[in-house]
Amino acid sequence: MSIMPKFSRVLLTFLLMVLVSCGSAPINQSMNDPAESFNRKVHKVNRGLDRIALRPASKVYQVVPKPIRAGVSNFASNLKNPSMVINDLIQFRLKDASSNTARFVVNSIIGVGGIFDPASNLGLPERYSDFGETLHVWGFHEGPYVELPLFGPSTLRNSVGRMVDFVSNPVRLLSETSEQQIYASSQTLKAVDQRGRFSELVDSIMYDSEDSYAQARLLYLQQRREFLRKTDNKEYIDPYNDVYDK
């Protein structure tokens, strides 16, 4: 930050304050999927990739002892942490920023480079955030639903967020090519591990459902909106009212 002239620092802070004070975008209730026919094609490709690559790989990876898999996944999560701190800061969520910073320090030092996760036991669980959320906090709307090749369900806003998180990730920027490879492999292994961990759930959506595209879309949007909402008091569909009172 010291290289930045004082004026631009003030300007940046001002700009952020304006963005945050504009208020978060409203959370959609409905489905907005104008590119559905194209998305469905991508979904078909993704399903094929899962069937021939990810699913079998996750079965093989499950053979590796659990503590080792957990270590790799912890390591991968720890490297994403600085990026979350940045997002917390530009969302003005200072509590989350300090909690995630403390978590990163504890896990990197006591947790041997992030392989162990002592921070969670010390009351510092990961407070997830990403640039997609930042855009939401800044007032950008969700935009249409998209299914991305390889990465799966997303929205326009979140796809932009993904790209920004990728190019601005401080861990990636500060490391050399060989270290970047370690970073990428650990993230991939974490994804493979998660596919194995939730194998029955993912299988039931991808292969047992008669419309896996619609299920994946619904589950993604529900979870993502739930995450962005960050409040407990929501109203649900009332089936009794739906069936008896009309």
């Binding site: 961990r197 047992d208 008669e210 619904l218 589950l219 529900q222 739930e226 089936p239 009794y240 009212n241």
Partner: protein, 203 residues
């Protein structure tokens, strides 16, 4: 003038008394419901915890979980609401058959989900009133994994205190089943009997 004032005063007292009684009645009935709902979830958690921590064979465990959900879930209302508008054109026998089939499908599918929580432990956090009932918030602690938040929606509108929806980490069971059953019905050209038969067949 005095008489009018007095009548008005009495009237005001009467109105506020009625209002007060009503309000207290409502809050009392809600408070009662909330504790009843928590009691139910305590019972379910206790039974589920016992079942998933046991070392019996997989099919036995799944059978026992199915039994718990059969006892404590209002699968009738879940079936009717997921069927959607099609329930209005269905005959009574068709609806009966569909409700039975939905129960088989539901128990089969979700008992397995809870089997996956092995080594987990369910604990109750809070509850609050919602339309038609109470939401009970629980947390499932898992070894090596971040805890899951599971919300149970409970109502007594069936005549008994039962659960009518479960929300696991933001994923709403009734919403996904509405989509799934809707698609299945569409794929069978709106034939409810065919849909019911398929629900029984799913593994």
């Amino acid at each position: 003038m005095k008489l009018i004032k007095k009548t008005l005063k009495n009237f005001c007292i009467l109105i506020s008394a009625i209002f007060f009684i009503n309000v207290s009645l409502i809050t009392v009935s809600q408070a009662l419901e909330q504790s009843k709902a928590e009691e139910l979830i305590k019972k379910i958690s206790f039974e589920v915890n016992n079942i998933i921590s046991s070392s019996r064979d997989e099919p036995v465990i799944i059978g026992e979980l199915e039994f718990v959900f059969k006892k404590y879930a209002d699968t009738n209302i879940m079936a009717l609401t997921t069927l959607g508008p099609a329930r209005r054109i269905a005959s009574a026998t068709q609806l009966e058959f569909f409700k039975e089939s939905f129960q088989i499908y539901f128990l089969n599918k979700y008992a397995r989900r809870f089997r996956e929580l092995k080594d987990g432990e369910i604990s109750i956090l809070t509850s609050r009133p919602i339309r038609s009932g109470v939401e009970v918030k629980t947390r499932v602690h898992l070894i090596d994994w971040a805890p899951l938040e599971v919300l149970w929606l409970v109502s007594d509108r069936s005549g008994e205190v039962k659960i009518f929806n479960i929300i696991i980490d933001g994923i709403n069971l009734l919403s996904s089943e509405r989509v799934e059953i809707g698609v299945m019905l569409e794929n069978r050209n709106g034939d409810i009997d065919l849909l019911s038969a398929s629900l029984r067949d799913i593994d």
